[in-house]
Symmetry: C2
């Protein structure tokens, strides 16, 4: 094995990288069992705790799963779309919050990406997707809805639109973009009139989707982006003036 015993201050990371590379290169295939921790410790000439730390690193990335008991062990894990979603959302959210990404930049990226679904969603959306979109619009127009609940429903609306494209890869890539925006959106307080305008645009988008008019969906999303950016700019300007 290519573990460097001269640099004994990173062994678990080295071992994790070694195994990860094997998985990526396809030299360890899905559901294949890794050697037991004791055997790995032997192979790499390290102690079992060190091997375990390496395995925990891989488990954190959903690359392996472990099973206890006889004939248990560590197995190469088939990453599900759901797990990948969750990881992507966590990473995206933290990336935005920790790097002072401006609302403007994030919003621009989010709508640019979402527009890429417009044509496909208009063409392929099922009745279920349409119903989900309509249901969220209805929820959004309920009085007494908190800003957070409004934002959550907004996310659900857009995810239904994205899922309408019926392309799991597209849904996965967009999950991060759409969900990671939520904490930023939550910084905004919406007036009743703001909500009305957003809901009207959502209705426009839902109608266009129902009519399978991709260009209209595209334009609706652009209008929604302009509306959102204007609204946010107003809120931030007002907040800045108070300080």
């Amino acid at each position: 094995m290519k573990i460097d015993p001269k640099n004994p201050a990173n062994l678990s990371a080295q071992i994790a990288t070694e195994i990860r590379d094997k998985i990526i290169a396809g030299r360890l295939i899905v559901d294949e069992r890794l050697p037991s921790e004791a055997e790995l410790a032997d192979q790499f000439n390290v102690s079992r705790p060190t091997v375990r730390e390496a395995l925990k690193r891989l488990a954190a990335q959903s690359l392996i799963r472990t099973q206890r008991g006889a004939s248990g062990g560590a197995f190469v894990n088939r990453i599900s779309f759901q797990e990948a979603y969750a990881q992507q959302i966590t990473t995206s959210t933290l990336l935005l919050s920790m790097n002072d990404v401006s609302f403007e930049t994030a919003c621009e990226a989010r709508f640019a990406l979402e527009r890429s679904c417009a044509t496909l969603s208009a063409k392929r959306r099922s009745a279920d997707h349409l119903a989900a979109m309509r249901a969220e619009i209805h929820r959004q127009s309920q009085p007494g809805l908190t800003d957070e609940a409004f934002c959550a429903s907004d996310v659900a609306f857009h995810r239904a639109l994205v899922d309408g494209a019926d392309n799991p890869v597209l849904s996965y890539q967009l999950a991060g973009a759409v969900e990671a925006m939520q904490p930023l959106m939550n910084m905004i307080t919406f007036s009743a009139r703001d909500r009305e305008r957003i809901i009207a645009l959502h209705e426009h988008i839902a109608d266009a989707t129902e009519a399978q008019d991709g260009a209209a969906v595209f334009d609706g999303l652009t209008a929604l982006e302009v509306e959102t950016q204007t609204l946010a700019a107003g809120v931030f300007a007002q907040r800045a003036a108070q300080h």
Copy 2:
């Protein structure tokens, strides 16, 4: 702490989740130092190895970094775009390779997403981005280039295009989509005539970007998608016929 001592078979995962949630919720801020491993072990009523396994899980996701020596310890890490790129690419690549995603689906998603940069890239691209695109086109027309090198250059070309949009969030989200396609593209062997057609489309896209004609970039990408899908369909049909 909310660690469940009744279920003593997942302690390190529970502790990792606990700390991760604190970071996500902003209750632990960037560069803040966590308690030492011994103190954490005390707080959670577990042993140090268990705490260490939890910390390694977090380190694997770049949520913390550790430093040795006096006044060392685990610190909340500011996730850089570069780290996030790398993670996204790993996850996306494995997701595609492990879930039998068809070339068609992945290709459709990739070009749909990339088209979302067309307008912005055409508007904002710098001379550097243009030069990078031209350089890759030149490399692609070199004779004797292996298929792998051709694909790598293709990825570099598209990343230059994406980076031209000058939106780090967009670049980050697209990195996964573009790079994860590479292993799938590598399954294809390109004839000289295939390469010519692709290079011609790349030149068309570069010209449109230089002319800041967003619609032409958009159409160029669509043409490239059609070309790629046709090419791949031919290769796969031929391969199927041989078996």
